[in-house]
């Protein structure tokens, strides 16, 4: 039995908007084991973004417990949360969020800059390794404006890998990409998952879910579905089925 990376029990998150209280999450429980590829789905207003913020240690629940890699999030300070994010989570965003006019390698090095245990040489080494993993070993010194959308997202994936996180957290990571490129990215995710990396993918696109091993569907702050996907599609195969790109 592999260990649990994420353990959530009766998680609630409420926001106060003026006099009204909005229940974004109404008591959610689930856990994610090491090596899983989970998609969290839901339409807007389902509590998906709130879930993502809490999973990413950017926000804290109103009540309930959340443990990541055995560490409870309860009552952690802003700085302690920052350290958890730095050491345990790799973020990937819809709009890549790369630093403009900054080379790929420097972008990938960024999380390690905030980890004083990593030396300059080690930082560079690990960044190169991460970029090689996403297939950009020959574009270390390219700036985001010299890279395509897919390549930019690959840099972002390399950045999320560089700190050896226990989990990669992707927020609509293919939302800005065309079908072909998003399949390319998904096949990269599947490859990384095969190497044992735990991935949590937040999306509202149903076809993305077919590439994952498990899907959790949120609606109005509750989990309405949580199922294992017995028929995982290969993104690489889907990519091959697409009509050839016209020149």
């Amino acid at each position: 039995m592999s260990k649990e990376i994420i353990k959530i029990e009766d998680l609630k998150r409420e926001f106060t908007m003026g006099t009204e209280t909005v229940h974004a999450l109404r008591g959610i429980s689930f856990s994610i084991k090491e090596g899983e590829f989970v998609t969290i789905m839901g339409s807007s207003g389902s509590g998906k973004s709130t879930m993502l913020n809490i999973l990413g240690c950017l926000d804290q629940p109103t009540s309930g417990t959340y443990e990541i890699d055995g560490v409870s999030m309860k009552d952690l300070s802003r700085n302690e949360l920052a350290t958890i994010r730095n050491e345990k989570i790799g973020f990937i965003f819809q709009s890549y969020n790369l630093l403009a006019r900054t080379s790929a390698i420097e972008n990938v090095e960024l999380p390690l800059l905030y980890n004083s245990k990593v030396s300059t040489e080690e930082r560079r080494e690990r960044a190169i390794k991460a970029l090689e993993m996403v297939g950009l070993g020959d574009r270390l010194d390219h700036t985001p404006s010299q890279l395509s959308g897919g390549q930019q997202q690959r840099v972002a994936i390399a950045r999320s890998l560089v700190n050896n996180p226990v989990m990669i957290l992707a927020d609509e990571a293919t939302g800005n990409l065309d079908t072909r490129t998003s399949y390319e990215i998904m096949s990269l995710f599947q490859e990384l998952n095969k190497q044992g990396i735990t991935i949590t993918f937040v999306t509202h696109e149903p076809d993305i879910a077919t590439f994952s091993s498990r899907t959790i569907v949120l609606k109005d702050g509750n989990i309405i579905q949580d199922y294992a996907n017995n028929n995982v599609q290969s993104a690489a195969d889907e990519l091959a089925k697409l009509p050839k790109e016209q020149d």
Partner: protein, 406 residues
């Protein structure tokens, strides 16, 4: 997060916005440069005043007749005839802190030699005058006490007078000249001293025994002033007090009466002029400081823009593990780096401006090390002070909001 990493990040941010950073720095550059240049001009003029006055004899003490306030209207200083030869004798006998002393009478007149003539001032003094004024002779010799006693018609000329009445370059020593139609024999020429700070030509003088000037030219029996020299520069203030006391008792002044004379040491003159130029310096520096302040506000402004513009970047940095303090330091260091670089460029510009002023405007300048240190320190403080608030604001951002910021 290590300081080196922060420096690298701040350096990158600055390099990525070269033009904007340079424009931001401009305020600081101009501020620092003008503070340094202004202080250099101020120091320079102060030094030049001091050196001129010192060259006139820094131990020198002058005693002048004061105003006459016994009548209904005050006369102007020097009009009255309260200083007499007897006063001179008494001061000479009684004072213990004076090394040289001479009576001085002076008047204007025309120096004539053959077809050439020149308007000048004749000073009637005794031989000690040369020691008091710290001036020597370039040729000839000074008149003697015996010549003073006999009111001999001998003169020493200043270089300007020589140039004008002996234009052919002949040796004036031994020649006869006339001053206001009275014939004099030239027995010496003063060393050239040039103009003093106040633009006065110190070589446009004729020197003769005071007895001769009193009796034969001015026909007066009082003195225009008494010049003396204190034993040392340090004794000058005490000598002033001593002379004042001697003269008060000699003039039989009551305790409630004001002095009817004035005693001044060069030291006082120096401090008077220094304080004037110091005031001016303070004023100039104040104006320059305002531009430094405006430069600081410029930094604050651009840091605000920078924080706003990079909200998303801040969100990302926080998401990947940047702590509030890391973000604070990043922006603070950026602000300090801008202000210090600006300060450095300002120092360079200020020094070149100073060289320029000295070379092309011929103003005396003197760069004080403290002015560089102070303006540089002010720069660093400006960076911290004006960079703090925007940086604090950046560090307090909520990572979720910052990440979603468009």
């Amino acid at each position: 997060m290590r300081l080196l990493n922060l420096l690298k990040i701040a350096y990158k941010a600055i390099v990525l916005n070269k033009v904007r950073t340079l424009l931001t720095m401009l305020g600081i550059i101009i501020g620092v440069a003008s503070v340094i240049a202004m202080l250099a001009i101020g120091e320079g003029s102060k030094e030049s005043i001091r050196s001129t006055i010192s060259s006139m004899g820094s131990n020198m003490i002058t005693i002048r007749p004061g105003t006459d306030d016994r009548g209904p209207a005050r006369g102007s200083g020097g009009d009255v005839q309260t200083l007499t030869l007897k006063n001179y004798e008494v001061i000479k006998d009684k004072s213990t802190l004076l090394s040289y002393i001479t009576p001085v009478v002076n008047g204007g007149g025309q120096v004539i030699s053959g077809a050439n003539n020149w308007p000048s001032t004749i000073y009637g003094v005794n031989p000690q005058y040369l020691e008091i004024k710290v001036v020597g002779l370039q040729s000839g010799s000074m008149f003697t006490d015996a010549e003073v006693k006999s009111a001999s018609k001998v003169v020493i000329l200043g270089q300007t007078v020589v140039d004008n009445v002996f234009p052919d370059g002949q040796d004036p020593v031994g020649q006869m000249i006339r001053f206001d139609n009275i014939p004099f024999k030239v027995i010496g020429v003063l060393e050239e001293k040039g103009e003093n700070t106040f633009g006065q030509d110190q070589d446009d003088v004729v020197i003769a025994p005071y007895t001769t000037v009193q009796k034969r030219i001015l026909a007066i029996d009082y003195l225009n002033q008494i010049m003396a020299s204190a034993v040392s520069e340090d004794d000058a203030p005490d000598a002033v007090t001593e002379v004042t006391e001697i003269l008060r008792s000699e003039h039989k002044l009551m305790d409630n009466e004001e002095d009817d004379f004035s005693v001044r040491s060069m030291e006082e003159l120096i401090s008077t002029f220094s304080s004037t130029s110091e005031m001016l310096t303070i004023l100039l520096v104040a104006v320059a400081s305002i531009s430094l302040l405006i430069g600081g506000i410029g930094i604050m402004n651009i840091m605000y823009v920078s924080v706003k513009e990079r909200t998303k970047e801040i969100g990302l940095r926080m998401a990947v593990g940047g702590k509030g303090s890391d973000i604070l330091m990043q922006f603070l260091i950026e602000a300090i780096l801008i202000s210090i670089t600006g300060g450095l460029l300002g120092v360079i510009l200020g020094l070149s401006a100073t060289v320029f002023i000295e070379k092309f405007l011929h103003w005396p300048t003197s760069v004080a090390l403290y002015s560089i240190i102070i303006s540089f320190a002010v720069c660093a403080v400006t960076g911290i002070f004006f960079g703090w608030y925007p940086a604090k604001k950046a560090s307090a951002l909520d990572p979720i909001t910052a990440l979603r910021y468009e």
